[in-house]
């Protein structure tokens, strides 16, 4: 029997460790950097700037009063709901169009130029026009998120499904795979890492553009609250919303990395 290799990579441990190695220098470094930055910010605002300017202690104090409001929770629900819905629709559409582009050369000829042009365009430039077309309402936000996700997913799916290893195709043909089996049984799974990367990028763009719509069209959501709180000179409350958006964005990124490891454990980057 051949030897079984589990491919566990040895990582040299940092030297200063406490509590069973949970606290390492590598993990401590960003905490220290953050603390230093917060202290500088706090001291500077207190020493030099007017009272309404946001400062770390003010933001922390503003958290309870901000999240105790109905406005906060309806905003969070509206923004996150629209983003998740848009990502779902945009991903499915992007995967279907992308796999068609990747597997049917003629279809790619028709689509590729325009999909890639739109993909390269900063979509935020289209936000005002789409608001005019769809109206000053939540639907505009959903449309923007769908497009923001659809474009990168279509592009990465097309690239991923086009570049399948020839040997996989030979195996498929040899064992009797039909076109449908090759699309959904070989091309799509082998392109999973590409597709997940596309969805991840779509999420980031979708969040950005959703916030832009909320601000420009006064659609209820976290972006609108950031804007109104800031206009009311309540900078601390405004930054509580920004903090929540940051947590959401980082959380999504972490989840997507896990998602890729789970879907494509063979793929190491």
């Amino acid at each position: 029997m051949a030897t079984y290799s589990s491919r566990i990579e040895a990582v040299p441990a940092a030297r200063w460790t406490w509590g069973r190695g949970l606290i390492t220098r590598e993990r401590l470094a960003p905490v220290v950097a953050g603390a230093v930055l917060l202290v500088i910010w706090e001291v500077w605002v207190r020493a030099q700037l007017p009272d309404f300017v946001a400062r770390p202690s003010g933001i922390v104090m503003a958290i309870p009063s901000t999240i105790a409001t109905a406005e906060f929770w309806s905003g969070v629900a509206a923004t996150l709901g629209a983003i998740l819905e848009g990502v779902a629709i945009g991903s499915v559409a992007g995967i279907l169009i992308g796999v068609s582009m990747g597997r049917v050369r003629e279809f790619d000829w028709f689509m590729s130029t325009y999909i890639r042009a739109l993909y390269a365009l900063p979509l935020i430039a289209l936000v005002p026009i789409i608001i005019l077309w769809v109206g000053y309402q939540p639907a505009a936000r959903l449309v923007i998120v769908v497009i923001s996700v659809f474009l990168p997913v279509a592009v990465t799916t097309a690239d991923g499904t086009r570049a399948i290893s020839k040997e996989y195709l030979d195996v498929g043909k040899m064992f009797g795979a039909r076109t449908r089996n090759i699309w959904f049984g070989i091309a799509l799974p082998s392109a999973t890492p590409f597709i997940v990367a596309g969805i991840e990028l779509g999420f980031a763009r979708g969040i950005t553009n959703a916030i832009a719509v909320e601000i420009l069209a006064s659609v209820n959501g976290m972006g609108m609250s950031v804007f109104t709180k800031s206009n009311e000179l309540n900078e601390n409350a405004s930054l509580v919303y920004v903090l929540c958006l940051a947590i959401f964005a980082v959380g999504i990124r972490t989840l997507m990395i896990r998602f890729r490891h789970w879907l494509a454990p063979w793929y190491h980057r």
Binding site: M1, A2, T3, Y4, S5, S6, R7, E167, Y168, D170, V171, K173, M174, F175, G176, A177, N181, I186, P189, S190, T192, L263, A264, P265, W266, Y267
Partner: protein
């Protein structure tokens, strides 16, 4: 060459070109019902291309390939192939990789379970059903590649340099295991390799393919007893044949020595 019952595969005057480049010229050969034919030749001589034509993955420009009298124009269900780089799907575990062909043919679930378990047992992979290819060594991956081909119970097995991407010790182990498996289930087989030892060890006949375009330069009958084990490798008959095939391959045409037996 005749088509009368005893031949599983008949290749007649096969020729193929890529654009202006002639790859195969006028190749004729046959493989018996339970015969192993080795095809040996220098790298890039076209032996894999010939095998792919037999598998229905490439098309001839002229000539004809028949398996059990049926013309090969696309992959036939009675033919299986083992690939040089294994070709296992990394997103499927070993069990699912091996069950792939049967699932595509919509075999009943109980039958798939039974045949896959048999094949896994045959190649010695019991206990690794749930493992993914990237967790296994090359030798074990190719065992799975072999099981995936055998589970289809093919009438013709095509081996495309199956052990060339595997380390030398494991390769030797797998060669004898393949012979053991074949003794249990004799089937027609084409074994493409660039290793002369391997060609002689496996084959009932060795076909030497060479030249540009590739043509059959020599056919050597291998009169070694079966079942073959390690003792065969040191026998005078084996060493003698290996020398003959070496000369078939590397002597310039027109130099001394017979070309064809």
């Amino acid at each position: 060459m005749n088509d009368s019952g005893a031949e599983r595969l008949v290749v007649e005057n096969a020729g193929l070109r890529y654009g202006q480049l002639d790859v195969l010229a006028d190749i004729s050969l046959s493989v018996g019902i339970s015969e192993i034919v080795s095809i040996v030749g220098p790298s890039g001589c076209g032996k894999t291309t010939l095998l792919r034509c037999v598998g229905g993955l490439n098309q001839l420009n002229y000539g004809e390939i028949r398996i059990d009298g049926q013309r090969v124009e696309k992959p036939l269900p009675i033919v299986s192939m083992v690939f040089q780089h294994f070709g296992l799907f990394p997103w499927k575990n070993l069990w699912s990789n091996i069950a792939y062909g049967l699932k595509l043919r919509h075999a009943p679930k109980e039958e798939i379970d039974r045949r896959v378990a048999d094949a896994i047992d045959l190649v010695g992979l019991k206990g690794f059903e749930k493992s993914y290819p990237h967790q296994l060594s090359g030798g074990m991956q190719q065992r799975a590649g072999l099981a995936r081909a055998l589970v289809m119970e093919p009438k013709l097995l095509l081996m495309d340099e199956p052990f060339s991407a595997i380390d030398a010790q494991t390769r030797e182990q797998l060669q004898f295991e393949l012979l053991r498996i074949w003794d249990r289930r004799p089937t027609a087989m084409i074994f493409v390799t660039h290793a002369i030892d391997e060609a002689v060890l496996m084959g009932d006949r060795v076909i030497v393919l060479a030249g540009r375009p590739a043509h059959v330069r020599a056919v050597r009958k291998v009169d070694l007893p079966r079942p073959r084990d390690r003792s065969v490798v040191s026998s005078p008959a084996f060493i003698n044949l290996r020398e003959q095939v070496w000369h078939d391959l590397f002597d310039q045409p027109g130099a001394n020595g017979a070309r064809i037996q």
